[in-house]
């Protein structure tokens, strides 16, 4: 009797617990098997793999191509881990603060490494060894990030050029040379194209992640004023922003959505655009014959252009120091530098002749970059030097100027005065010398 009443319940319970137990094991099996998780960066190759944490080459294909470069040229096994700049800086600083550094090599733009200078090893000795590579003096000055010793080894460089779809040449005004544009000619062309095409076909990367502030910092303002910071609100700067206002009215309003100009260019929404070489390289990918790459325009004070430097740094107390140094040596060799150019459109920082067999978009860019640097009146501008964590705020000031002058059409002088006060507040707190193209000896502030 007891058996018959208890058996069904008993069996029901055991079936359920069996199921639960099964589920539990199924769930915990991968859990126990892999303990700390599966490797996602290639570091599982074991001890002696250099963990390379970087802010560059985050897009899927670029990363894959760079991993191939590393595999072929780095001479040591490397795990390339690309993250966004925010995660990069918090990872580096928390690891240093906890005294347990898990990376061995760091890579980033000058502006991303500079604020982390305290956590980076002094690389003067390494740079002395690499003196034969032919880094330029400006570059070596930059690596000191405002201090007295170098904190990173130059890795690669880039600049900005103008991409032109040949369709737009139809509206090029007479007397304007596309390979030697002036700001006036550029504006006349933009207006003629807008009229001819029935819609604006010039664009700029003014989206949330776009780099348009570099256009004002390194191209527009230096070309009009000869400076970047000291001349921020003088008469020449007012002329520059007045020009910008007019240029904007001939540009595609959708520009405020564009982060990487190669996409609207490839779609044909925009026919002419200025941007970072790595952000233009895919536009001509399909039909290189339909495209031109030309130097940025020149203005009354010369052809302002900005150079972007990326560097490799060694974290203090990092792992596998010897291997990381070996990797740096390998990656600054001309062969690996040229391979980086071929695959990802970042230019060599070392003294080397570019090969003549570059293909498609890269060849177009290489020619434009060379013409831009060697043209008469070329005026080198650097991204802000030694601003550390404040760099983003300074960039924001230039973006504010664009926002208020071009989008909200406020009076230019008034906007520049307000923004200059803010800029001076930031710069006074930092007390740093100016950088090119401003006179370097001065303490940096807006006159």
């Amino acid at each position: 009797m007891t058996d018959t009443t208890f058996q069904p319940r008993h069996s029901a319970v055991s079936r359920r617990s069996l199921l639960l137990a099964g589920l539990g094991t199924a769930m915990s099996a991968p859990f126990l098997a892999s303990c700390a998780g599966f490797d996602t960066s290639g570091a599982a190759a074991g001890q002696g793999t250099v963990g390379f944490l970087s802010t560059q080459f985050t897009p899927v294909e670029e990363k894959q191509r760079y991993e191939a470069v590393l595999k072929k040229f780095a001479k040591v096994p490397m795990a390339y881990n690309s993250v966004d700049p925010g995660v990069f800086s918090s990872t580096v600083s928390t690891q240093a603060a906890a005294g347990n550094v898990k990376t061995s090599l760091l890579g980033g733009l000058h502006g991303e490494l500079a604020p982390l200078a305290d956590y980076l090893e002094d690389v003067d000795a390494l740079l002395r060894d690499l003196a034969g590579r032919g880094f330029t003096k400006e570059m070596l000055d930059l690596t000191k990030v405002g201090g007295s010793t170098s904190r990173y080894v130059p890795w690669m460089q880039a600049t900005y050029v103008v991409a032109v779809n040949k369709k737009a040449l139809e509206w090029l005004p007479a007397g304007v040379d596309v390979n030697d544009l002036t700001y006036e000619g550029f504006l006349a062309w933009a207006k003629a194209a807008k009229q001819g095409a029935g819609r604006p076909v010039f664009g700029m990367p003014a989206g949330p992640k776009g780099l348009h502030h570099r256009f004002y910092q390194g191209f527009l303002l230096p070309s009009f004023t000869g400076g970047q910071i000291t001349t921020f609100r003088n008469q020449d700067a007012i002329a520059a922003w007045d020009y910008m206002q007019e240029l904007w009215s001939a540009m595609a309003p959708a520009s405020t959505n564009y982060d990487y100009m190669q996409e609207p260019l490839a779609r044909g929404e925009v026919l002419v655009a200025w941007d970072h070489v790595a952000r233009l390289v895919n536009a001509p990918a399909a039909k290189p014959d339909d495209w031109l790459m030309v130097p940025a325009p020149r203005g009354p004070k010369g052809r302002g252009y900005m150079l972007i430097i990326a560097g490799m740094a060694l974290p203090k107390n990092g792992k596998d120091r010897d291997l990381a140094e070996k990797a740096i040596r390998a990656l600054t060799e001309p062969a690996s530098q040229i391979e980086t150019l071929r695959s990802n459109a970042f230019f060599p920082v070392v003294q080397t002749e570019l090969p003549s067999d570059l293909t498609g978009a890269i060849a177009l860019e290489a020619a434009a970059v060379r013409r831009q640097q060697r043209s008469a009146g070329a005026l080198l501008a650097l991204p802000p030097v030694g601003l550390g964590a404040k760099e983003g705020e300074v960039s924001q000031i230039f973006k504010n100027c664009f926002q208020q002058i071009c989008l909200e059409t406020r009076p230019i002088q008034q906007v520049l005065d307000t923004q200059a006060t803010q800029l001076n507040t930031i710069l006074k707190g930092l007390n740093v010398p100016c950088w090119a193209p401003d006179p370097i000896s001065m303490k940096c502030e807006v006159a």
Partner: protein
């Protein structure tokens, strides 16, 4: 004779049935169209995405971007990590959260209301604020860059919802049945295990959907706490937002599929959260 039958009620019924079906179809389309579009874009060739106007029918099928995306270093490892973290978070959050929810539902104690409010405070802090000090702590105790670290963070983030949902689930289990079980000789633990838990299980399973999806979607904490053992969103999200459109679709597609599968598995229980009648 037969022509005189009043057909209006039947017609009305037919019309209502039609309207109901139409509404169901409209709601389904609202959910399915985005999924259709993202699948279409993920499986289209790159060149066809630049055309205008875009074709809404699969005319240019290609798995080029999808294979490119899946071929990236660490995608499958990251998928595994995400599953480990999701399952681990689910188990740990249930182990801690369900008893807490039970206590909230069954016992009245001093400070119960402030306690319920206080629970939500962990969600009030931005994850960045939480994860940087946590990363430091985990580095010191050497579980940084492991799935354990991420499980702990996600459990902390999931606990408030787990506790509050399980409390309301236990409230819906009549206290009478528990008392009856005690009368028939169950220990308090036995009554909980044999009577209350089986009745609450569907609701608890539904709560787990929230936990799992939260853990699946969380990016920032996971990317600060790990380096070489990332979860899938942490591994690909920043990379995708910088990639060309074609890759964003491919990545989005790959990220959506696993959580759709999980929800499909749990769907049966989800309806239970609002009462078994819907089923």
């Amino acid at each position: 004779m037969s022509t005189k039958v009043d057909t209006t009620p039947i017609a009305r019924q037919k019309r209502n049935r039609f309207l109901l079906q139409a509404a169901c179809i409209a709601v389904s389309l609202f959910m399915l169209i985005p999924i259709y579009l993202i699948s279409l874009a993920a499986l289209s060739s790159r060149a066809s995405l630049n055309e205008f106007p875009l074709s809404l029918l699969p005319t240019n099928l290609s798995v080029e971007t999808l294979t490119g995306f899946l071929g990236a270093t660490g995608i499958f490892g990251a998928l595994g990590n995400s599953l480990i973290v999701g399952a681990g978070t689910l188990i740990l959050a249930a182990l801690i959260g369900v008893p807490a929810g039970y206590a909230l539902a069954r016992f009245s104690f001093r400070g119960k209301d402030p306690y319920q409010l206080f629970l939500l405070f962990t969600r009030a802090l931005p994850i960045v604020v939480l994860s940087v000090p946590l990363a430091r702590l985990f580095l010191t105790v050497d579980i940084y860059d492991t799935t354990y670290a991420v499980i702990l963070l996600h459990t902390a983030l999931a606990l408030p919802t787990t506790i509050l949902i399980s409390a309301s689930v236990f409230l819906s289990v009549p206290i009478d049945v528990e008392e009856a079980a005690r009368l028939f000789g169950c220990s308090p633990l036995g009554a909980f295990g044999r009577v209350v838990l089986p009745m609450a299980l569907p609701g608890l399973a539904a709560a787990s959907i929230f936990t799992f999806v939260m853990s699946w979607n969380e990016v920032l904490g996971a990317s600060i706490l790990t380096l070489d053992h990332r979860t899938l969103p942490a591994q690909v999200l920043s990379s995708l937002s910088d990639s060309p459109l074609a890759y964003r679709f491919a990545g989005g597609f790959a990220l959506v599929i696993p959580s759709i599968i999980f929800i499909a598995l749990m769907r049966r229980y989800l309806t239970n959260m609002w009462g078994s009648t819907i089923r």
